[in-house]
Symmetry: D2
Subunit: 221 residues, 4 copies
C-alpha cells in the first residue's frame, strides 16, 4: 500500500481536516486573531511534542538509513518551524519561555500523546502512520491555499504561516518524507490485519487534527 | 511530601473533579442514561489503557517489591473493574467485543495517552502521579457519595457503580495504593524542581478527569 | 510463518542452545554445584527482567485478548518460577533479598536488556520473537531431558529444576504460548523483510541463551 | 551531587576502565590490529545504539532546553564519530554497509541495551547516568593519552583515534555535556535512595566499558 491508500480509507475525516473552516478563514484572512493566536501557542506546544515523536523515530530505527531519515525533520522542527511560531508570537509580546509555560489544551494533549503512544507501543511504521496526517496534511493544505483564487495575499495577517507551509522548503521536505513513508508501507497489504491497524492509527490522528483546528476556532467564544 | 500535598496543590481542579455535576447527578440518580452509557463505554476503553499503564508500572519497577505492588491492580483492572462495565453494558445489549470496537472519544484519548506518556517519559513516580487522580479520586468520590445524605440508593440505576467504588474491595485497594504512593514520594520535597514536576503531572491528569466527566454530560446534547 | 520456521532458520544456534553441555551435565547430575548455583542466582535476576518483558507485552497489546494472553505468564513468573529459584537457593542459605542484591553478570544483562529493547523498539511480534527462545526452548529442553534414557532421576541434585520445566504446568503453558505466537506470525511471510527481521531477533536471543548457559559453566573456573 | 561523585563512588571500576590494557596498548601503538579492528567494528555498532540513546534523551526531555542539549550530540554521533570509524575501516576494505551487517558481540549488546533500558525505564537523569561513563570516560582517556609521555605519536596506527578523542572538538563537547549533567544532578543527594540508584546505573555502565575493551583484546585469541 501507499500513503494515498490511507487517505482514501479516511476520506470523511481527511476532507473535514484539510478543508476545515479554520483553514478557509486563515486563507481569506478572516480568521479571528484570538483563534489564530490560541492555535499558534498550542501549535508551539504541539511541535515540541511532535519533535519528541521524531526523536522516537530515531530511537525506533533499525538502520542508519532510517535514523538519518528522521534526523533532519527533528532538526527542522526544533529550528525553523518552532522559530516561526516564536517570532510570530513575539509580535504579540510573547517570549518563547512564556509560550512554553502555557497550559496544553485538551486537543493538544490528545493529539500529541496519541502519536507518541501509538509510536511507542507499535513499531516505526505505526509511528509514521500517526505522524503522517500532520506532515502530509499541512503540505496538502499549504499547496491548496496557495493555488486557491480566493486566498488573500495582500495584508493577510497570516501570510507568513501560508508561506511557511506552501513554501518550497516545507513542500520538498514533506514530499521526501511521504516517499519514504511509502517505502515503509510497500510490503503491507491494506486489506491485511496490519493494514487495518495502520488505517486505524492514521484515521485517529486525522480526527485529532480536526479537533485541533476546532480548538482554535473555539478560542474566540 | 505525601499524596495529600499534591491534592492541596491542585485544589481548584481537585474540587472541580470530585464534585463535578456528573458525580452529583449520578449519586442522586438524575444523570441522563445516555450520559452514563457514553461514560461507561468510554470508561471501559479508558480502563483498557489504564491497565496498560499498570503494566508499564511493572515494567518500570526496579525491585520485585515494586513489581508485586502493581500486579494486583493490573489483575483487578482486567477482571473485576472491566467486568463491572461489561456486565452493566450487557443490560443495554452491548457485548464486550462491541464495546471494544467503540471509537475512543477525545477526552478518553487525551487522558489515557497523557498518563502513558508521562509514565514512559518519566520514571515510576511520574507514572503513579499520573495514575493517582483516578485511583485516589474514585475512592474519595465513592466514599463521599456513600456518606452523602442526598444519595439515592433505592432504584438508583447507577447503584452498582456506587457500590463498586464505595465498596470495601475498591476502598481497601485504593488506600493501600495511596500508602504505597506515599513511600515513593517520601524523599521528594514538594518545593523542589522534582516536586513541581510531579504537581504538574498530577494537576494535568486531574484536569483530564474533569474533561472526562464533562464528556459524559455532553453526550446527551 | 510459524515459530518452527524461526527455529529452522537458526538451527546452528538452536542446537548449540538446547543441547549445551550445561543441559547435558544438569540432566546427568554431573553439573558442578557452583555452576548451577551461579546459574540459578543469575536466572533469578533474569526472571525478574523477563517478567518486566511480559509486562511490556501487556503494555504493547492492542486488544484485551492480547493483554489477557500475557498476564498469566507475568503472574506465573512472579510466583511459581521465581519461587522455585528462591526456595532452591534457600537451601544454600540465600534469601530472596540477598539474591536480588547479586550483581547481574554480563550474559544476564545482555540477554534481558536485548529482549526488552527489541520489544520496546519493535512491536508485540518482535517482543514475542525475543521471548520465544526462552519460553519455547525451556519446554523443549525439559521434555528432551525427561525422555532421555541417560537422565539421572534418583539423587540428581537438580531434579526439582527438571521437574519444573518437564512438568505439565510449564509444558502446557509453553505450548499454549507457542500456539498464540503462531497466530501472531500467521500473516507474515518468512521471506519478507519483516520475516527476516524476526529471524534476526529470534537468532540473537538464542545466541544469548547459549552465552547464558556458558556463563554458568564458566562460574566454576 | 556532581558527576565526579559518581566516579568517586565507582573508583575500582573507573580505574579498570580508564587504565585498561586496551587503552595502554593503543597509546603505545602495540595493540594488535585484529583487536583494534574488532573493537572498531563493534564500536561502530555501539555508536549506532548510542545514537538511539541520545534520541531517547530528546524524547525524554521536558523542556526545549533539554531537547536542544541532546540534539547536537545526536547529530555529532551520526556524522563525525561514526564517520571516523567508517573511514578508518575503509582502509581495511570494509564499507559502512558491511560494517552494519556485522553481528553485535555480547559486550556490545550488553552495554548498549543496558543503557537504553536504564534510560527508558528510568527518567532523563538515569539515562544520562548510563551515558556518562562513555561520554566522560572517553574524554578522560583521550586527555590522559595525549598527556602521557609514553604515548607514541609517530607511526602509531591508531593516531586518528587518539586525535579524535583528545581533540578540542570532542573534549569541548564532552566538557559541555558533563556540566549539563551536573545541573541535572545538582538537587540529588548522593546518599539518598535516588543517589544510590544513580550510582548503580553509573557503575553498571562502567563495568560494561571494561568488558567492551576486553572484548577487543580477546579478539586476537
Amino acid at each position: 500500500m501507499q500513503y494515498q491508500d490511507l487517505i482514501d480509507a479516511c476520506q470523511t475525516e481527511w476532507q473535514a481536516y484539510t478543508k476545515h473552516d479554520f483553514v478557509t478563514q486563515l486563507a481569506s484572512g478572516n480568521l479571528p486573531k484570538d483563534s489564530f493566536l490560541h492555535y499558534l501557542k498550542q501549535d508551539f506546544l504541539f511541535l515540541k511534542q511532535y519533535a519528541r515523536a521524531y526523536a522516537l523515530a530515531v530511537y525506533k530505527a533499525n538502520s542508519l538509513t532510517d535514523m538519518r531519515q528522521a534526523l533532519p525533520t527533528l532538526n527542522a522542527l526544533l529550528s525553523s518551524e518552532i522559530s516561526h511560531h516564536v517570532s510570530f508570537c513575539q509580535d504579540w509580546g510573547l517570549s518563547e519561555a512564556q509560550m512554553e509555560q502555557e497550559r496544553e489544551d485538551f486537543g493538544t494533549l490528545a493529539y500529541t500523546r496519541y502519536v507518541l503512544d501509538a509510536g511507542m507501543s507499535g513499531n516505526l511504521v505505526d509511528l509514521y502512520a500517526a505522524l503522517a496526517p500532520c506532515s502530509i496534511g499541512y503540505a496538502v493544505i499549504g499547496e491548496q491555499i496557495s493555488l486557491d483564487a480566493n486566498t488573500l495575499w495582500e495584508n493577510n495577517p497570516y501570510r507568513s504561516w501560508i508561506e511557511l507551509y506552501a513554501g518550497d522548503d516545507y513542500q520538498g521536505h514533506a514530499k521526501q518524507g511521504a516517499l519514504y513513508f511509502n517505502t515503509l508501507l510497500a510490503n503491507i497489504d491494506i486489506k491485511s490485519e496490519r493494514g487495518q491497524q495502520l488505517i486505524e492509527v492514521f484515521c485517529t490522528a486525522t480526527r485529532m487534527e480536526i479537533a485541533f483546528w476546532q480548538q482554535g476556532l473555539n478560542a474566540t467564544n
